[in-house]
Point group: C2
Chain length 247, copies 2
DNA sequence: CGACCTGTTGAACTCCGTCAAGGCGTGTGG
DNA sequence: CCACACGCCTTGACGGAGTTCAACAGGTCG
């Protein structure tokens, strides 16, 4: 039996349990709580895209901003670079989450969205969403709240992470990851599968790969987690992760 | 002669040169490019508040989110804390800028907004702005773009700053500060007056006060700037600041 | 005047970055 | 099938940037 925990991180747009076959919207997209007619209107402007293969881009820095994208399946990393070329990973996004919202109000995306696995997305032209918001106040509210949530998410992860040591920074990241896509296995063990490389995680956390590797070894030694190739098993009690972060 | 440079950082809501005595809006508030009637409508829902003395709060973490605030004069720092109590400064905001937008879509503010100088603000009830957005599409667009800009601003300052050394991190901060409130004096010298303590700047940059102090001494020695009590003078050529940041 | 806050400086220590080497899994080509 | 290369990860040794702890200088305010 596999049980999925769901986000308290505010990145999910819709209830993943919602039965989307009963409407014309691709599963896991915007428009939570709207009536049939409104959902039909939204459906008419969005468009499914895929498959996007690992390493391929959904959008790039140079592209003009036109749409935001709801991920239907797969994993996406948002990546840019400093002026001197050092890479910068802003975040990882999964099925049911949105990418591209950072570009709202700008002429171009200012980062690349790269698929880490074979990925399907749902393109949502933003100008038409803005127009629709006039007719559907609830949609306007959803979009506004969405942007607010993204600001708070950055504050809770990257901004707060700055003040933490390497191992705690990773635990903060792991906790978020577990909330969003962690699984409880049949034997009761709590695990997170990593679709990204540990090198990418290191960059995202503002660390060197070597430093992250050492932090992981240390945490494993302390019995906090089990470090596998593409999977982290979380040991200790239920709320143990965050209590480790904050001592 | 004092000349003011203006923001390319996207935090300003309106053109500061706009003649606001000709309308009912307190100077420097939202509603750029709207007609007289629309501005009157907005005016009717906003309310001026002040004076807020140094150390007093505009809002606090515990407060329910109801309004965003446009700063009319003064300086505000946005502050919170990690779970273990270590302070965290998210940013500093000046006359003509907005605070509280991070809370859009949440029930409470999740940070304190503290005045650093005697400050006047303009309260903008957000629920009523949301309603007005239905009638005034241009206003909706302004608010959406505003939130997007805030996300990008955090990306450019805090997120990118993480990857820089202490002195470059400060230069990035100083450059932003100079764009937003720097002055060119009569003798041609370019200066930034600091309304916040250097201790607060250090916290904001994720550094210890001692580390920032050392970085400032180093930069002064190198002839990049002159470090005064409450003022930084920028030496070197016009575009020198950022070129120092990126080598 | 003395208490207090802010900022600066020095010395020892710590954590992370850097450089270098090696292990492991995967894919490819002989 | 094995050899080899390659990417990813880990480990070790070293050095450096920033933290910590402590002392002190300058300014402000009671």
């Amino acid at each position: 039996m596999v049980q999925r925990k769901r986000s308290s991180c505010g990145l999910h747009l819709v209830n993943p349990d919602r039965d989307c076959n009963s409407c014309d919207l691709p599963k896991k997209c915007i428009g939570e709580g709207l009536d049939k007619e409104q959902i039909d209107t939204i459906s008419s402007i969005i468009q499914q895209q895929g498959p996007i293969k690992p390493g391929e881009a959904i959008f790039r820095m140079e592209d003009r901003f036109r749409s935001i994208y709801a991920i239907q399946s797969g994993t996406v990393k948002i990546e840019s670079a400093l002026d001197d070329g050092t890479p910068l990973i802003h975040g990882f996004y999964f099925s049911g989450e949105l990418v591209g919202v950072e570009a709202v109000g700008d002429s171009h995306y200012q980062s690349d969205a790269i698929a880490l696995e074979t990925t399907w997305v749902c393109e949502i032209p933003f100008e038409r969403i803005e127009t629709l918001c006039i007719e559907i106040p609830k949609l306007q509210q959803e979009i506004l709240h969405l942007l607010g949530k993204r600001i708070r998410y950055t504050n809770r992860t990257i901004v707060q992470g700055r003040y933490l040591s390497a191992d705690r920074r990773f635990l903060l990241f792991l906790n978020d990851l577990y909330q969003r896509k962690g699984e409880i296995k049949a034997d009761g063990s709590r695990r997170v599968t990593l679709p990204m490389t540990k090198g990418d995680i290191a960059i995202h956390l503002g660390l060197r790969p070597e430093s992250l590797s050492r932090a992981l070894s240390k945490l494993q030694e302390e019995g906090v987690l089990r470090n596998r190739a593409r999977e982290i098993e979380i040991l200790g009690d239920n709320e143990g992760l965050l209590s480790c972060v904050w001592m």
